[in-house]
Amino acid sequence: MSFANSHSTLLQAGRRFHARRRFDVLAYVEFGPDNGAILIDLGEGGLGFQSVMPVSINQALMFRFKLPAASNYIEGYAEVAWMNESGKGGGLRFVELSTDACAQIRAWAGVLSAHKAGALQAGKSADSDAAQESPTEHVPARSMQESTRPDASNGGDAPAQISDVLAPAESAPGAGLSPGASDAPSSAEGAGEEVPADQALLPEALPAPEFNVEVTAANSTEPLASHVEPLPPAVPPRAATSTVEIGASESTLPKDSEHMVTDAVGSADASERGQEQLRFNGSARFHAGPEIGTAGRSPSNRSAHPGSGIAKTIECSEPTAAAPGRPARSSRVPGSEEGNLVPVEKRQRQQAPANARDSAVRGSFVRQPEKPAPSTTEWQKPVASQGNKLKPEATLASQALKIGIGAAAGACLMLTLVFGAPSLVTRVKGTANARSGGSNRASSRAFQVEVADLNNRRWILRSSGETGSPFSDTPSPRETQPPASARSESAKSSRSEDSADSSRTVQAPQPKLPRPSELALSRPRATQAGEPSAVLVAPSIFDGITPPIGSVSDRLATGGPEAPRIVQPEVQSSSHPSALQAAVLVQRVAPIYPSGARESHLQGEVLVSATIGTDGVPANLKVIKGDERLTAAALTAIRQWRYRPATLGGQSIETQIVITVSFELK
C-alpha cells in the first residue's frame, strides 16, 4: 500500500473544516461557460480541482458537477480558497450550496465534518467511561491513518509518534477548527494504549472532534458481532485510492486498504500483513475523540453484517438522511458505491442540547443563512447582495463607467469642434478683415483717379484727401481763379503741347507725349505743392491691368434683342499727329447668334486676341475666353471686320488688341 500523499494532504487539511473524499473516477466540474476542471476531491465544505484555465485567489466561481452515478447536477457558488503555483490547481470553498446538494455531497463523501463534533462534546465523558470498558482499541483518526504506514514498526508506540508528527498541523493557526477539533486528544487510553505525553496533558473538558471509524470483522469475537454495521451485498471492490478527509486531517486509503483491514480482522495473518496486523488484529475502532463509543455499546445502534466479511462504519453526527427502518439518528449512505465504507449513525449525546447539535450540523454545511436551493438545471447569476459574487459585476460596471466617461468626453470634443469651430473661424476672419481694412485705410489717404480718354491720354484726378469722397466738394482753386473761358482756353492749351501754366487747375498734359523710353516709369510724377490736381500720368499703374484702350469699346454690347451688337466709338481725330493712335474699327459685321445657343439660352462673352495689321485686317485670332458654341460665330464676324490701323507718329503700325463680343438675349 502507498501513503505517499498522506503527509501533504494532512498538512493541507489543516485549513479545512470538512472531510473530503478523493474521486476514484474521472469527474468534471464546470466553472461557468469558460472554464472547467477535473474534480480531485470533494467535501461538504469545498472541493479540490485541476482546472483548464487559471483561477485566482478569492475568485468567485459558479460551479456545477455530477457525482458519480448521480443523475442531477450539484451546483452553487464558491470561491477559490487556495491554489497552486500554476493557478490551475487548488481548492474551492463553497459559498452557496443548497441543502440537498449538501446532503448529497455528505452522503457521497461518507464522512462528517470534524467540527460538528464540538456540538456533541457534552456526551464525551459518558463515552469515555464506556470506552474504558471496551476492549476495542481506540486511536485517533489521524493516528489511524498514520498507523497504516508500512514503516510503523511497533503498534504500541506508533500513536504517540504520529501524534507528535501531526502536532504542527493540528496547531496551525489557519486551521479554522474548533479547539476541540484541533486539539483532539487521543482516545487510546480507552483501549489501554500508551497515551502521548502532550495529549495526556490535555484537559478532558476540551472539545474533540467526534469522528469515529469502526472497523469490525464480521467473524470476530463476540463483542464485535453485536455492533457491526451490515454492508450492502455484492459491493464491488474499489478500483482506486479513496481519500477521506476528516476534520483537519486527511487520510488516504489505498485500494487494498480494506483488504488489509479484512485480513487484519479476519485472518489475523501476521506473517503476511506485517505491522498492520498488530494494529488491526481483531475488531478495531478508530475515533478522534475520547468519548468515541467502543465495542460493546448499545447494540441498538449497531447491527451485524451477516455474510459480510468486513464492515467499516463511520460514525456521522449528521442526524439527517436516516435510512428507513433505522433510528432517526442513524445516517447511512444510500446506495453507496463506495463499497465497504458505510456511515452509521452517530450516537447522540443525550447531554448535548438539541439546538447545539442543530447549529453544529447547520454550520458544517451552510455558513450563510439558508436560501432557496438553486436550480439544478440552470446557472444562476450571483446575487448582488453577496460580496464576493459582486466582483464580476462590479468590474463590468467599472469598465462600463470608464468607457462611458471616455465616450462622453469624445462626444463633447467632437461637437465642440464641429459646432464651435465655425464661430472661431468667423472671429478670426473678422479680425483679419479689420487688419486688412486698416492697412487699406492707411494706404489711401488721398484718393485719386486716373483719367484716360480715347486717345490714351491719362491724367490724375485727385482729391485733397481731407474732405470729399472720392472727391471733395470744396471748391477747387481752379473754380475760383480763371474764368470759364480761360479754363477752357487753358484746357485746350493743355491738350496742346505748349500749355504749361501752373496757375490752371487742370493742367494739360505734357506738350509732348511721353517717348517710348519714358514708358519705363512706374510711378506718376509727383506733384508739388500748389500744383493742379490733375497731372499727366505716364505710364499708368493700370498698364497690364485694364484692357487696352482700343478693345474697350468692343466690349460694350448694346445690340438688339437677339443679335449681338458691337458698338464702335466714333473715331476721333487726334490733335497730336505724333501720338500713338489706336486701331479703330471702321467696318463691323454683327455675328450671327448660333441657333443652338439661342435655344439653350446661352449667353456670354467671347474674348478674342487679334493683331490689327497695317492694312486694318484682324489676324492671328485667338480665343481667350468664351463658350465653344459662341466662339465660331464671333470669329466669323471678326474676320470680316476692318480697322483703321494704329499709328505712331503718323505711321501705321501693327497693334495687338483684345476684342470682346458679347452675346446677350434680350
Binding site: 467599472s398 483717379v449 484726378l461
Partner: protein, 178 residues
C-alpha cells in the same frame, strides 16, 4: 484590457460615432461657410476711362492674394457675383454693375492684379468744356460715394473676396453734391 485604456477606447469610439453621425446626418452637413480669408484683395488704384463719347467705365484695380495651397481661377461668370457694400450700413447691393475685367489665374500663395469694371453711360466732356474736371469728379462721386467696397462671391468655392475702397476714410458728410 487594462482599466486605464478603457476611457481612451470610449473616447475613440465616441469620436468615430459622432463623426459618422455628423457626416451621414443631413443636419451635420450644414452649408459651407463663406471663406473670407482664403483670397484677399488690396486696393491699388482707380481709373476712369472714356469708352466712347457716350460711355465711360471706372476701373478699380486690386491686388489679390491667394492664401491657400490651391490654385484659384478668378473669373466672371454665373457662379461669381460682385456686389457693392454700401457705406451707410454695410449692406450689400447689386445696383452697381461691377464685373471683373478679365479672368485671372491665381496660383497658390501667389499675388495678381485684377480690375473691377464699372461701366456706365457718360457723356465725356469735350476738351474745351470748362467743367471738364468737375464732370469727371461728378461721375466718380456718383459711382463711389455710397460705396464702401465691393465683394465678389464665388458660389462654387464659397469664397468671398472683399475689395476695399481706397476712399474709405474720406469724409462723406460733405460729399460732392450729385
Amino acid at each position: 484590457m487594462r482599466g486605464n485604456k478603457l476611457p481612451l477606447l470610449g473616447f475613440s469610439l465616441a469620436l468615430l460615432v459622432t463623426a459618422v453621425i455628423l457626416y451621414v446626418h443631413p443636419a451635420g452637413r450644414s452649408p459651407k461657410p463663406w471663406n473670407s480669408s482664403a483670397i484677399t484683395a488690396t486696393y491699388v488704384g482707380a481709373q476712369l476711362r472714356e469708352l466712347d463719347s457716350g460711355s465711360a467705365a471706372l476701373y478699380l484695380a486690386y491686388e489679390v492674394q491667394n492664401h491657400t495651397d490651391s490654385d484659384y481661377q478668378l473669373a466672371d461668370g454665373p457662379g461669381a457675383l460682385i456686389m457693392s457694400r454700401l457705406r451707410a450700413d454695410g449692406s450689400l447691393s447689386s445696383q452697381q454693375q461691377a464685373r471683373l475685367s478679365y479672368p485671372t489665374f491665381l496660383p497658390a500663395r501667389q499675388r495678381a492684379r485684377v480690375a473691377l469694371e464699372i461701366p456706365s453711360p457718360f457723356g465725356w466732356p469735350a476738351e474745351g468744356d470748362p467743367a471738364y474736371q468737375d464732370k469727371l469728379r461728378d461721375f466718380v462721386n456718383q459711382k463711389l460715394v455710397d460705396v464702401q467696397g465691393f465683394v465678389l462671391f464665388d458660389q462654387a468655392d464659397r469664397f468671398d473676396i472683399e475689395f476695399p475702397s481706397g476712399w474709405q476714410e474720406l469724409k462723406m458728410t460733405s460729399a460732392f453734391p450729385r
